[in-house]
């Protein structure tokens, strides 16, 4: 059923050591240890590029119950550096299941550990803040040495590793709309066929080199009259953002993290979406610069890291949260409507609310800690959210923000001048 999984150890930078059983690939890994409180959606989390550089620990103790499948991936591969669980399920049960979490991690070459008192670590991170950790077969002292030698999260840019290298047009299906009754299995297989045919194994069950040219780069063609063209600046985009845009009839073109504003505007977008991604926005000077030039030129939506980039572009500050917001139960109040939404979140940095530039106003706040969860430009078509309206995993409550973005794009379509000479008609 499974290979013989020997003992391994998780050592945190404070010297604490936890013995467990190897989960996934053999070897050793280091990264920033973060916890996520969602009770479902481990595969979506594992493949979320925003976890680049991090070791992920779900607080829910039973992981892998429903296996892994082709439909539940959010990017081309597992993105986390490591995985810590209380218990992994060796015999999953679900109609869509194609394998165990252990085999999935092995196939993706990702190291993990099982049998850990994850609640004890969560409580430690809650009080001490996130810290670096190592999963290794070595003894504790040895492991600590190796951990000290390893690069620290937050001291290097991860975005470039997870972003696309090619511009491509996303032609995948619209995904699961929350209200759809369609057969998920049918959907999953359709989307799998789509991927294997058009995108050469993007499905993610096989580990695919992120830089392999896997998509057609013909973003400027085939523009239909009615469809809005949205350019997604990929800092680590999740597929469900692309699906959510497709579901609203948008043509979706994805460009790499280092695409300049001019390159993006040259695609004649009706709107630009700056995507989520991993790490500290401080490393994204070029993206911030590019955002400055996009603001006012094209309707703009920033999600998560994209939100932080926009905020920085307008002169706001960002800071590192003590232990971040990661889970599917964070309450956010939309200050425009007064409504509270339960949101999916995954971020370790946030926008400083003090000293916010005058032209920005806070549109959403987190009810737990009062941090900024969304911004709106007072005069220009710019909206940002710190959390994940695309869910996956997590509640679908915030899908309305994509509608709001699309409406904003439509309404401001006439107002925003196209870049010079861009009209192809």
């Amino acid at each position: 059923m499974t290979d013989d999984r020997g003992p391994v150890r998780l050592v945190l930078e404070d010297g604490s050591s936890y013995e467990g059983t190897r989960l996934g690939a053999e070897g050793e890994t280091t990264g920033e240890v973060v916890f996520n409180t969602s009770m479902t959606g481990y595969q979506e989390m594992l493949t979320d590029p925003s976890y680049g550089g991090q070791i992920l620990m779900p607080t829910y103790p039973l992981i892998g119950n429903y296996g892994v499948n082709a439909a539940d991936v959010e990017s081309r591969r597992i993105q986390v550096r490591g995985f810590i669980v209380r218990e992994d399920c060796e015999r999953p049960s679900h109609s869509l299941s194609e394998g165990t979490i252990h085999d999935y991690l092995v196939e993706n070459g990702v190291v993990g550990i099982s049998g850990i008192d994850t609640r004890a670590i969560t409580r430690k991170l809650r009080s001490s803040g996130v810290m670096m950790g190592i999963i290794t077969p070595r003894e504790t002292a040895d492991a600590l040495e190796a951990l000290k030698a390893a690069p620290r999260y937050g001291e290097f840019d991860v975005v470039h590793d997870v972003s696309t290298r090619e511009t491509y047009q996303w032609e995948g299906d619209a995904g699961e709309r929350s209200r759809a009754f369609g057969d998920l299995k049918g959907r999953a297989w359709r989307s799998r066929e789509h991927w294997s045919a058009a995108e050469d194994g993007l499905a993610g069950l096989e580990s695919v080199d992120a830089s392999a040219g896997s998509v057609s780069a013909n973003g400027t063609t085939k523009r239909s009259d009615s469809a809005l063209r949205i350019v997604v600046n990929d800092y680590g985009v999740k597929l469900n953002i692309l699906r959510s845009l497709r579901a609203r009839g948008c043509e979706v073109t994805v460009v790499s993290d280092d695409a300049s504003a001019e390159e993006m505007l040259a695609l004649e977008p009706d709107g630009v979406l700056l995507s989520p991604g991993p790490g500290d926005p401080i490393f994204l000077a070029a993206a911030v610069e590019s955002a400055k030039r996009l603001i006012g030129s094209v309707p703009l939506m920033g999600i998560c890291l994209g939100h932080q980039v926009v905020a920085r572009a307008l002169g706001a500050d960002t800071f590192k949260l003590h232990f971040g917001h990661r889970g599917g139960n964070q309450p956010v109040k939309d200050l425009e409507t007064g409504r509270v939404y339960i949101t999916a979140q995954n971020h370790g940095y946030a926008v400083e609310s003090d000293g916010l530039p005058d032209e920005l106003e806070v549109s959403h706040v987190n009810l737990n800690d009062g941090t900024v969860e969304g911004l709106r430009h007072k005069s220009l078509p710019v909206m940002t959210i710190q959390y994940h309206s695309e869910a996956s995993p997590g509640p679908h409550d915030s899908e309305y923000l994509f509608d709001r973005f699309v409406d904003m794009v439509r309404e401001s379509g006439a107002l925003v001048p196209s870049p010079a000479g861009s009209s192809s008609e």
């Binding site: 829910y60 008192d117 409580r123 049918g186 889970g327 309450p331 409504r339 996956s392």
Partner: protein, 1111 residues
């Protein structure tokens, strides 16, 4: 947002007596709601007929009415109190129905009472099948297609449209008689035919069958501003087809992926938004099964819906209590604030005290609920599970894995199974004969796997998702390892992490449980305790609510303050109801009042005691020796010396707690109050006889038998009839009045099986007036709040008897004797704390009448002088503690706790302005009446006897006996309609006592129907009677016919004497139960009910408890 329009005075409707389907969860919800409303400065008027509840305590609401829950009573309360708001969504279906009826009757409009929380229109939309389906279609939410038809041809047409398989449900029949599942036309023809003829209106519902689909529930909340959240989702281990109240339930769902989970979450939120719920709501859904199960079902249309909406409960429910306990989120508390107009983000989060109620709990553990069924009490009942709920209560367990949570829940059940190792002896040869859902299905599943079936095979046979059956397989694998391998620290740790109790490891590894415990400690394998904090550890929480697990970090570190442990009472079952939770809660409060931290242990999610703010520390754990000892040791601290070990209180949690006293004693753990030896002396018949005879306290003659021969010997010495019962058993289980030696032998065996220490008591059965007292004793003095007289003569279990306070027909000498005996028993036994004593007074007539009608000696001429005998002493809290505490204002539990902690009774009572002895009689009459759930338990005989059968109780209180008893009967649905027809079928042994009843009935204008022998008697008395055929196959209308067609509105059917009459009357009693008409099996109750008609005519009072007490 508070405005001038906000309600200042709110009427809260309670749920009434505990019945199957409506248990302690509504006391929990109601109590939380009352507290929550009062926090907001609202004056709370509460009405509930159930005196055993915390919510009817004088300090929970501002104005308490313990009055029948009927529209006329509520109107009188509204007229008197003039509340500006009414809250009906916290009192179960009872509260909800009453709120709707008050609205429909125009009463709310008349008195300008605003419905708070979910509007009536929303309730109607949720409850009315057609309105609900219409709304679902507007919302694009799928419901299983169905159609009502009256002919077989129409049924076939409907099924063609819906698609096979279909369920056929006959309209207006109880228990689904005549229905079934049809997979093809031929089957449907047959089932529809029988269904149509079984239905009283000749109609059946043809509905799409979802048997085998997953059953999932979401607990959701919505505020008036439209904010919606889910508290928790739950997955039933039993697939669709078993009532969710009878299903093993897991939280959160285990086999749904995020897309499944979110799809159902979004649907649930859409539905409560569409309904306009303002408060809590429960949504039940069916989800397409996994591949293994699907393969066994008729083809599912893959273009069809992934799920169907089954049902919505627009109120707090049993599931919301479970969800509250499973997550730590106080649903009822928040719902009450929403009802006042607050939005979720305006309501503080009681758990973190920093954030708000607008969030969704995250669990970092697995919760398992198992229902507790009453079939240990009702061995002849139909044990199969279906759409009619049969469980009386439930247990919940929490752990970090499913297997361990499941095994802990099994340990908590107290159903005689003990652990998953139990196998029915009948399975010995070829395993369980079937895997049909019944109360033993869990054991059938694991036994089948133990005997070599694969998990998948069991799943295919039952529809239980393989994820669950594979967990059972892992448990069986561990059993095999424990049998085969040496017990090493590694193996021990693995077994503990899978939830194996020490006793089970001991059985498998061939050791004694105590040896396993010692080994564990030697190897450092002890449980740690983790907190239920609603947020999976993300935020610091202030709720000291813990569960055990075998991991690294212990979060329940004692803080060194003085503490004491309250052992709770476990699942609600017949014989051990909500009364013991009442006592446990008051014990915790009394400790707190004395400045001592209260540590609560209990496994019942429905209760107030397991609310995290009832005690200082709550351990949600099984109440067995292993877990209680582990907790006590943990509370003592890592290197505890004896002085740091907190003492335990075993007197309040019913038999569950008292049974643990001996183990605690053996383990050297301190017990507060009466020593374990006292408890032993009171329950060990030999020791008790020795003490009573030494102190000259009269007991009915009898003895202890260890075999049938001894029993026969004792019986022939003392003479028949004799009372046979197992020792150490609560609620009269396996207790029988036996008339002759052949019956004795038969019932001796039953009693022996039920007896934990293999001894059976055989006593002379004394017919007479039964009297009961509760008392506090400090070893010297006693305080008796009042004397309760039973309306039924001795022989009916005290829990099933109506009892009246104060005793109505005792002489002063009898009262003095009772007080004297009580004091002497307390002193002789050395009772410190509570005790309950039952007396029988012989002579002077068995039925003395009440209220001056009859009276002592009225029909007892020529009988010997009255004599008082002690029939039972229980050195612990009793079922009547809440009743007597409320109607006398003597806080029995508080006094007991003070005395147990070492105060003298004189001092403890003095502090409350009381003194030892019999408390002065209150100027009121209160009647406690039992309530049964017989219509829900097919095959169970309803006659009253020494074995307890009731599930709950109500109270009627008024200035005089007749009014009080009338209200008790109304509240327990035993009230008679004047001038209606009544069926009499009286056993020969009772005929001598019957003439008075017949005269009363005739004088009150009842039409009398009777079976032949009884009819002859009635005619002989000179009254008119219609004779009916007793045998079902006879010609002309039978007893059952006239019950079912509504000819008679009540039945009197007594069963004393031989077993043949018992069998003859069975159909009469069952059909009365199913028609829900009063069925009196004791002439005493019947007479009392007829007498009470006078009370009803003279108009009873409606007053608050305080008004009665202060009159």
């Amino acid at each position: 947002m508070t405005t001038a329009d906000d309600p200042k005075k709110v009427l809260v409707i309670g749920s009434g007596p505990i019945i199957i389907g409506q248990a302690a969860e509504f006391d929990y919800a109601g109590t939380q709601a009352c507290k929550s409303l009062r926090e907001e400065g609202v004056e709370v008027v509460l009405v509930n007929s159930n005196p055993a509840t915390i919510m009817t305590d004088e300090d929970v609401a501002d104005r308490i009415y313990i009055e029948p829950l009927t529209v006329p009573v509520l109107e009188r309360i509204i007229d008197k109190e003039r509340p500006d708001g009414i809250l009906g969504t916290l009192g179960g279906q009872t509260g909800l129905n009453l709120a709707v009826e008050l609205e429909k009757a125009g009463i709310l409009e008349k008195y300008d009472v605003k419905v708070l929380g979910t509007p009536i229109r929303s309730i109607e939309m949720a409850e009315d099948r057609d309105l609900f389906r219409e709304l679902m279609s507007q919302l694009d939410e799928p419901v299983p297609p169905s159609e009502a038809v009256s002919t077989v041809e129409d049924a076939l047409t409907a099924a063609d449209q819906i698609g096979y398989p279909v369920v056929v449900r006959p309209a207006y029949t109880l228990g689904g008689t005549g229905g079934g599942v049809a997979t093809d036309e031929a089957q449907l023809r047959r089932i529809a035919q029988s269904g149509i003829s079984a239905s009283r209106v000749g109609q059946v519902l043809i509905e799409k069958s979802l048997l085998g689909w997953k059953e999932v529930e979401y607990e959701v909340m919505r505020d008036g501003a439209g904010n919606v959240i889910t508290i928790c989702n739950m997955e039933n281990l039993d697939p669709m087809g078993v009532h969710t109240g009878d299903s093993i339930v897991v939280a959160p769902s285990q086999t749904l992926n995020d897309k499944d989970y979110q799809r159902l979450r979004t649907a649930s939120l859409n539905i409560i938004t569409g309904l306009g719920i303002e408060g809590g709501c429960n949504v039940q859904l069916a989800y397409r099964p996994g591949a293994d199960v699907e393969a066994t079902l008729p083809p599912i249309d893959h273009d069809g819906p992934m799920y169907y909406v089954i049902e919505v409960n627009p109120r707090v429910s049993r599931s919301s209590a479970l969800a509250s306990k499973a997550t730590g989120y106080p649903i009822a508390r928040v719902a009450a604030k929403i009802a006042l107009g607050k939005t979720l983000d305006e309501i503080p989060n009681a758990v973190t005290q920093k954030t708000t109620a607008a969030f969704e709990p995250a669990l970092d553990y697995c919760v398992v609920k198992i229902p507790r069924w009453p079939f240990d009490k009702f061995p002849t009942g139909d044990r199969t599970l279906g759409t009619q709920m049969k469980a009386t209560g439930e247990v919940m367990a929490i752990d970090r894995s499913f297997e361990s949570a499941l095994q802990k829940a099994v340990r908590s059940l107290e159903n005689g199974r003990g652990s998953l190792l139990w196998e029915d002896p009948a399975w010995a040869d070829s395993g369980p004969p079937d895997l049909v859902a019944d109360d033993d299905r869990l054991w059938k599943l694991i036994t089948t796997i133990r005997r070599g079936s694969s998990a998948e095979d069991v799943s295919r046979r039952t529809g239980v998702d393989p994820w669950f059956t594979r967990a059972l397989e892992r448990i069986v694998d561990m059993e095999r390892r424990l049998l085969a391998e040496d017990l090493t620290p590694g193996l021990m740790r693995s077994a503990k992490r899978l939830g194996f109790p020490d006793a089970q490891i001991a059985t498998l590894a061939d050791r004694l449980p105590e040896q396993v415990r010692e080994l564990r400690k030697e190897w450092g394998i002890t449980p740690v305790y983790k907190m239920v904090d609603t947020c999976a550890g993300e935020f610091e929480a202030v709720t000291p609510y813990f569960y055990s697990t075998y991991e690294q970090e212990n979060e329940a570190v004692p803080d060194g303050a003085e503490s004491a442990v309250v052992l709770g009472s476990g699942p609600i079952r017949i014989g051990q109801g909500i009364e013991f939770d009442y006592c446990s809660v008051h014990a915790a409060w009394a400790l707190q009042a004395a400045g001592v931290q209260a540590v609560m242990i209990n496994s019942n999610p429905e209760t107030v005691s397991t609310d995290f703010d009832t005690s200082d520390r709550l351990y949600f754990e099984p109440l067995d020796e292993e877990s209680v000892r582990d907790i006590i040791e943990n509370e003592g601290g890592a290197d505890a010396d004896d002085s740091q070990i907190p003492p335990s209180m075993v007197q309040f949690g019913g038999q569950t707690a008292i049974n643990l006293s001996q183990s605690l004693g053996v383990a050297g753990l301190p017990v507060l109050g009466s020593e374990p030896s006292v408890i032993d002396a009171a329950t060990d018949r030999g020791k008790f006889d020795e003490i009573t005879s030494r102190h000259g306290l009269p007991q009915p003659p009898g003895g202890v038998a260890r075999n049938a021969e001894q029993a026969m010997q004792i019986a022939s010495n003392i003479g028949y009839p004799v009372l046979v019962r197992p020792s150490y058993v609560l609620g009269g289980r396996a207790m029988e009045i036996v008339q002759n030696s052949s019956e004795l032998i038969r019932f001796f065996e039953t009693a022996m099986e039920a007896s934990p220490n293999q001894t059976v008591l055989v006593d002379r059965y004394l017919e007479g007036v039964e009297v009961e007292v509760d008392a506090v004793c400090d070893g010297e003095e006693v305080l008796i709040p009042g004397i309760m007289q039973h309306i039924e003569r001795a022989g009916v279990h005290s829990g099933d008897s109506m009892a009246v306070y104060p005793a109505q027909s005792l002489t002063d000498a009898e009262v003095d004797t009772i007080v004297d005996y009580t004091r002497r028993v307390g002193k002789a036994l050395g009772v410190k704390g509570l005790m309950n004593i039952q007396f029988v007074i012989t002579g002077g007539g068995a039925y003395r009448g009440f209220n001056g009608r009859g009276g002592a000696g009225a029909n007892g001429s020529g009988e010997h002088a009255p004599e008082v005998y002690i029939i039972e002493v229980n050195p612990r809290s009793s079922r009547t503690i809440p009743f007597i505490s409320k109607i006398t204002r003597v806080p029995m539990v508080r006094l007991a706790v003070d005395v147990m902690r070492g105060k003298s009774l004189v001092d403890a009572a003095g502090e409350l302005g009381l003194e030892p002895g019999l408390a002065p009689k209150r100027n009121l009459v209160a009647v406690k009446a039992p309530v049964f759930s017989m219509s829900k338990l097919a095959g169970v005989d309803t006659f009253l006897g020494p074995e307890m059968k009731s599930t709950g109780e109500v109270m009627g209180i008024d200035e005089d006996f007749n009014s009080a008893v009338a209200k008790a009967l109304i509240a327990s649905s035993l009230d008679l309609r004047p001038s209606s027809n009544i069926l009499l079928s009286v056993a020969d042994g009772d005929k001598a006592d019957a003439p008075d009843l017949v005269r009363e009935l005739s004088a009150s204008g009842f039409g009398i129907y009777a079976t032949s022998g009884t009819a002859a008697m009635v005619r002989a008395l000179g009254f008119e009677v219609t004779e009916v055929e007793k045998r079902l196959a006879g010609e002309g209308p039978t007893v059952v016919d006239i019950i079912e067609d509504g000819t008679v509105a009540a039945v009197v059917n007594t069963v004393t004497g031989d077993r043949q009459t018992l069998q003859d009357g069975f159909h009469i009693r069952r059909s009365a139960a199913e028609q829900r008409i009063p069925c009196f099996t004791s002439l005493d109750t019947a007479r009392c009910a007829v007498e009470a008609l006078h009370g009803e005519q003279q108009q009873y009072n409606i007053r608050t408890l305080a008004e009665y007490l202060e009159r």
